[in-house]
């Protein structure tokens, strides 16, 4: 077992039986499901909307070179500086280079999973800058030194009293554990940060090729302030987030909202088309956009996996996944968790180290059924498993299945084997679930259905037919 697989195993065993964790997640998801279903029902044709979204995204990634060039041309025409980063290290160097050039001391950041992917905060701190996450959930997990728990709800695993304790310890300001008062503490702290910060860094949800705009979806207003007050603004975005036309957002913005948080539309959907333009009241003097590949082009080169680049990171597949709900977001040990994370992480970060995530699924298909861009998630999980068995077949499996094939192909051997198995199973029942049980991996936490007393053939004969 690889180290990440062993860690997954240990962490999953710790979290799955934790009833407190389970009740927090179930409560949160129950609230999500109610509002999601209500918002979805307002669509005249939700399934039709999924078809259109999937088609748009496949068209966009299918001509990615053309749309990227159009995007960059339009961004540059209005004074935006565009940078290309092949991998995480290049992206970090580009961004730290901008911070150095601006002599930045304080950086304010809005939510960006892509920045987690390239471990940007570590690089910024190593360069001697202070970096503050401004999304409330991200602010909380940053104070606790944790990774975000979920793509959309970074602090969903925490209770209000845990958050109050964190604020008490780190900010010395925690009036009560009322969510409103705690939110106002963060509001006060971050107001000072926005006004001080030299540089604002954001993620992005979409890039619009035909107008050259970066679209950011948020509820709190933290990204808007990050883009309004500091003198320099930087957006980090994966190359796959391009949409062909501005009007495509008319479909994607409500779909992202419905799937992400259950709202009909997220509070702020803002399109940024450059630095402060002549005659405008405010905004950054410089706007930098960093386009990140980091092995996305490898997904593009795979005819099966290409559609995974359509992912809009709404988190819906995590929310419906029975495995995610039981093992929790941190157990995956990856930036992108849940079904989509299990599909793409082996291809982004090393197949051998991360393919175990493809087994963290019952293949129930709930993820595929909910995905707004119709990514065939559970099929990709199965394909990853197939690829793993081709690349790295275990000898024990090979021998085992060779013997099984021989037995299953011979009626005589099958008869003997099933008799022996019945005897073996009745002996095994005496040690059920203990260390002596050869099937302990299963029986430790589950029941094993009893084996039938007769085979079908025996029963048939006993009927006298």
């Amino acid at each position: 077992m690889t180290a990440p697989a062993a860690r997954f195993d240990t962490d999953a065993r710790g979290v799955a039986p934790d009833l407190r964790h389970r009740s927090i997640i179930q409560t949160a998801m129950a609230k999500y499901e109610v509002v999601r279903d209500r918002s979805q029902s307002w669509f005249q044709d939700w399934e039709g909307a999924r078809d259109l979204a999937a088609r748009t995204k496949l068209e966009a990634v299918g001509r990615l070179d053309t749309y990227l060039e159009q995007l960059v041309r339009n961004l540059e025409a209005r004074g935006t500086r565009v940078h290309w980063a092949g991998d995480a290290q290049q992206a970090r160097e580009i961004i730290v280079g901008i911070l150095r050039e601006k002599n930045a001391r304080v950086v304010v950041k809005s939510k960006s999973m892509t920045s987690e992917e390239i471990r940007l905060n570590d690089a910024i701190e190593a360069a001697g800058c202070e970096v503050v996450e401004s999304d409330l959930g991200e602010f909380i997990v940053q104070l606790r030194g944790e990774a975000p728990y979920h793509l959309v709800f970074p602090a969903m695993h925490l209770t209000r009293s845990e958050i109050r304790q964190t604020f008490e310890a780190k900010l010395r300001d925690a009036p009560s554990d009322d969510p409103e008062e705690l939110t106002m503490v963060a509001r006060r702290v971050l107001r000072r940060t926005y006004l001080q910060a030299d540089v604002g860094i954001t993620g992005a949800n979409f890039a619009v090729a035909d107008t050259g705009m970066i679209s950011i979806t948020e509820n709190e207003g933290n990204a808007r302030l990050t883009a309004a007050l500091p003198r320099t603004m930087i957006t980090l975005i994966g190359i796959e987030k391009v949409l062909p036309r501005l009007e495509d957002l008319a479909l994607f913005l409500p779909m992202l909202a419905v799937m992400g948080t259950g709202q009909p539309l997220t509070c702020y959907n803002t399109m940024y088309g450059g630095p402060r333009q002549p005659g405008e009241a405010d905004g950054p003097e410089e706007y930098h956009v960093v386009l990140l590949d980091n092995r996305r082009s490898a997904l593009l080169a795979d005819a099966e996996l290409r559609e995974t680049l359509g992912c809009i990171r709404c988190g819906a597949c995590l929310n419906v996944c029975p495995v995610f709900r039981n093992v929790g977001g941190h157990t995956y040990g990856t930036v992108y968790g849940g079904p989509i994370g299990a599909v793409i992480t082996p291809h982004l970060r090393g197949f051998k180290d991360w393919v175990h995530l493809s087994y963290a699924s019952s293949l129930c298909g709930a993820c595929t059924a909910t995905c707004p861009v119709k990514i065939n998630l559970h099929r990709h999980l199965l394909e990853n498993r197939r690829a793993a068995s081709h690349r790295d077949a275990r000898w024990s499996y090979k021998i085992g299945f060779t013997i099984y094939a021989a037995v299953a192909n011979s009626p005589a051997l099958w008869k003997v084997a099933t008799r022996l198995l019945r005897i073996g199973m009745s002996v095994r029942r005496l040690v059920n679930g203990s260390v002596l049980d050869p099937m302990r991996a299963w029986t430790r936490t589950r029941d094993l259905p009893p084996i039938a007393k007769q085979s079908f053939r025996e029963w048939w004969r006993a009927q006298g037919r």
């Binding site: 044709d45 039709g48 939110t183 509820n219 883009a227 501005l246 008319a250 405008e280």
Partner: protein
């Protein structure tokens, strides 16, 4: 500058990788080609055919979002309506921009006034009790206010003060999101403002136990007057 020949080479390397990858053809379901406005209108939530239906839908959506929506008979009653808000909330400092509606309305309040046009002191804006701005459109389908950095006094006026008051005209009400994007494209052509924002209710968060709190970082209140 940070840009170097290294970055230019990286651009060509990445585009080269993409072109190489795209030589592999992948299956595209439902035929190629991009969806049209008609396709989108067929699936999105219905938005009402007449002005009255749309106004009613906007009002209902605004109510759901805990925004306040008022229809005024004419611009003359605007000053009085704003005066009521001023007295109720005890405003002492007001921020606005020199729009046709917003400028006069803000002056009528008789309070110290900050105009954001052409630049301003951000700390002073942060101390204002209200930001009064105009907008580009109201979207009935979602209860959304569309603002741009040009129509609404910049980026921060509608976001930094704790109360955002929007002044709209009757003819700015549009049916749905496709219409709003078409309006923006038609109005500005190739000369876009640097920011276009679709504002749907006051700032909110549910990051603590999924319980709703208004005024996370942006305005706690959103009031819309349609003249």
């Amino acid at each position: 500058m940070v840009e170097s020949t290294g970055e230019m080479i990286e651009r060509d390397t990445i585009l080269g990788r993409i072109r190489e990858a795209l030589r592999v053809t992948a299956y595209v379901p439902g035929g190629a080609g991009l969806p049209t406005t008609v396709d989108r209108r067929r699936v999105l939530p219905a938005a009402g055919a007449t002005f009255d239906e749309r106004a009613a839908l906007f009002a209902r959506n605004a109510g759901e979002l805990t925004a306040t929506f008022n229809v005024l008979q004419d611009a003359g009653t605007l000053a009085a309506a704003l005066g009521v808000l001023r007295d109720a909330e005890g405003w002492t400092r007001v921020a606005a921009h020199r729009g046709e509606l917003a400028g006069d309305a803000a002056r009528s309040l008789g309070l110290p006034l900050l105009f954001t046009d052409g630049g301003y002191d951000r700390n002073a804006l942060e101390r204002c009790d209200v930001g009064i701005s105009e907008c580009d459109a109201l979207v009935a389908q979602t209860g959304t206010v569309v603002v741009t950095s040009r129509s609404a006094g910049g980026r921060a006026l509608s976001c930094l003060p704790p109360h955002h008051v929007v002044l709209a005209r009757r003819e700015q009400l549009v049916a749905d999101l496709p219409a709003a994007f078409q309006l923006v494209a038609g109005r500005y052509g190739a000369d876009y403002p640097s920011v276009i924002s679709f504002i749907t209710g006051p700032s909110r968060t549910a990051d603590i136990e999924r319980s709703l709190v208004l005024g996370a970082h942006g305005p706690k209140r959103l009031t819309i007057f349609m003249v």
